[in-house]
């Protein structure tokens, strides 16, 4: 396993995440896709930290921050998704279009 493998893995996961955000119709799956994007970045950061001879800590530190912030984000996200479900009986993002123009 070399650094290039990790970078390819990271890029592939990130691309999957972007596809999920754009193509998925359920708000829950859109949010999971965002998590996938964040974790793709984490793979990249941790791999670079491991192969970096100059500064081995920074990449790991920011990865820990990303995980923590993502947890906070999910808590907030599902509160809003629940609210949406109660108001409409569905979490389909295609139907969220009161405002346009």
């Amino acid at each position: 396993m070399t650094l290039v493998h990790f970078q390819l893995l990271s890029a592939a996961l990130f691309a999957l995440g972007v596809y999920g955000v754009l193509a998925r119709r359920s708000a829950v799956l859109v949010l999971i896709s965002i998590e996938l994007m964040l974790n793709a970045v984490n793979v990249n950061l941790v791999a670079w930290a491991a192969y970096n001879h100059f500064d081995k800590v920074t990449g790991l530190v920011i990865a820990v921050f990303v995980i923590t912030v993502a947890a906070a984000e999910v808590a907030l996200a599902f509160a809003i998704v629940l609210r949406l479900y109660r108001a409409r009986g569905s979490v389909n993002v295609d139907e969220i279009d009161i405002m346009r123009g």
Partner: protein, 508 residues
């Protein structure tokens, strides 16, 4: 290494503000009288303001006008403190102006104030970020409370929709931004924007050319900068990342829209200036033209789409996109001049001055809209008809703010545009200044249309007088006076902007 008392002092304005947020929420449980809670919140803001002013004095006395804390994660210079004071001033005014509006939240009113304070804490940390980790954490600290605030009107589907849209797009933009940070880290081996000591170099010092002829001379840096630009573009509501702006502004409670439009945008410009100027200043020739092109597209799209809007909040949303475009002109002008022996700070000074003036005039417009729509319940432009007779004071102040947003003298909007376009012309971007002036003319159509509706069209049906409550009137009067004063005597704001710009240039 360890934590020192200096570190605590350097972060004291943010600590005081976060403490105040908790105090307001707790005090609200204990007290029945909500006016006292608001009083504590407003008066309590004097504490972070005092700390910020004392830091300004402290930094002013240093030979190298900058101090780093937390092992270089936090940079305190006059650039950072300029934004801290600007944000705290915005916070006081937003609190005063939104008191009547937030009354509808009843027992959640203090939570609303607390969330605004937490978001402002993150926004205040952003311009003081010394490395990319701080940028990310501060950005999320600023964004997550705004998601909750945008969705605060629980019973309105529009508000929940605004919250979800902001959350999803802010999540995606954070991920893109982080990918960019990872690539910059990959290429340079560091995340420092500012180097605290010789043993800990910054990104600027670690940039190396691996592919001559390519922009930035390095594939990873090129990809990283593109992703970072996209990530920040969302916060700046820069075209093509602006699509969330009108929806969130329309759906969110109006005070939140005002806070987003002014506070969030100022801090986003601050961090863009810090990252691009400090970390990537040496290669500015490669990104300057990109900013110039984005500026031209952003202001044109913002102004042209604003013409078609019938909802006032939505119209102001598009107007803030247009103004982000004008400010990007200044960002581009910085770049063209970097490395020049001449006045390299011209562009930064113009952006900082514009941000100060933009805060005053946009807050004035939003405050008037908050006061009017809160009483009439009608958010359309048509709903403002006859306001010249129904409420001469509010209509006059709104008209004055709109005249300033158009850029007509003797207002700060005119001075701001003058400085920005002057910076553009001085750095060889004459074509950009021409596009900017054409855009100002286009913007006059929809701004002055509101004035026309207010004064020349009779009210439909309900013609009762509309008035704002006392705190809102004070906030509105203060912003209107600031618009006029900075327009007639720009020197004070200009001097502060110069000091801040000099401090930022020094970090190069």
């Amino acid at each position: 290494m360890g934590l020192t008392s200096t570190d605590i002092y350097l972060i004291s304005p943010e600590l005081a503000l976060a403490g105040l947020a908790l105090a307001v929420v707790l005090l609200d449980l204990a007290l029945k009288n909500k006016t006292v809670v608001l009083g504590v919140a407003v008066v309590g803001l004097l504490v972070p303001i005092a700390f910020a002013v004392s830091l300004w004095v402290r930094v002013d006395g240093l030979v190298f006008a900058r101090e780093t804390g937390f092992n270089g994660s936090l940079v305190i210079d006059q650039f950072a403190i300029f934004f801290k004071l600007l944000l705290l001033g915005i916070l006081v005014l937003v609190l005063l102006a939104s008191n009547e509006y937030t009354g509808r939240f009843r027992r959640y009113q203090a939570e609303f104030t607390g969330l605004v304070f937490f978001s402002a804490t993150g926004l205040m940390l952003l311009p003081a970020a010394g490395d990319l980790i701080t940028v990310y954490v501060a950005l999320e600290l600023a964004s997550l409370p705004i998601v909750a605030l945008a969705a605060f009107l629980k019973m309105q589907a529009r508000s929940t929709e605004a919250g979800l849209k902001y959350l999803v797009l802010s999540g995606v933009s954070s991920a893109v931004l982080l990918y960019g940070f990872a690539l910059l880290y990959a290429a340079t081996g560091t995340m420092r924007i500012v180097s605290p000591s010789a043993a800990e170099p910054s990104i600027a010092q670690m940039l190396t050319v691996t592919h001559a002829g390519l922009p930035f001379g390095n594939v990873a840096v090129l990809a990283g900068v593109v992703l970072v630009l996209a990530g920040f573009g969302f916060k700046l509501s820069m075209v093509p990342f602006q699509m969330w702006t009108p929806d969130v502004y329309e759906g969110a409670p109006t005070p939140v829209s005002a806070f987003l439009a002014v506070a969030s945008k100022s801090a986003a410009f601050a961090v863009v200036l810090r990252v691009f100027y400090s970390a990537l200043g040496d290669v500015s020739a490669d990104w300057s033209l990109v900013f110039a092109a984005l500026a031209a597209v952003t202001m044109s799209v913002g102004n042209l789409v604003a013409i078609a809007q019938s909802n006032v909040k939505r119209l102001l949303g598009y107007s803030t996109i247009a103004h982000a475009g004008y400010m990007l002109v200044g960002v581009a002008a910085i770049a063209a001049r970097a490395g020049d022996a001449g006045d390299g700070s011209l562009g930064i000074v113009s952006v900082l001055f514009y941000l100060g003036g933009y805060a005053a005039m946009n807050l004035a417009a939003f405050f008037a809209v908050i006061a009017i729509t809160n009483r009439t319940g009608n958010e359309t432009v048509r709903g403002l008809a006859g306001l010249g007779q129904r409420s001469p004071l509010l209509a006059g102040m709104l008209a004055f703010a709109l005249v300033s947003l158009t850029g007509i003298p003797p207002t700060v909007g005119f001075m701001g545009k003058l400085f920005v376009f002057n910076a553009a012309i001085n750095t060889g971007y004459t074509w950009l200044a021409v596009i900017g002036v054409i855009n100002s003319v286009v913007s006059a159509y929809y701004y002055l249309n509101i004035v026309r509706v207010m004064y020349l069209q009779p009210a439909d049906g309900d013609a009762r007088p509309v008035s704002a409550n006392a705190p809102a009137t004070v906030a509105l009067a203060f912003t209107s006076i600031a618009v006029l004063l900075f327009g007639l005597w720009p020197t004070g704001l200009l001097d502060a902007a110069r000091a801040a710009a000099t401090a930022l240039l020094q970090t190069l």
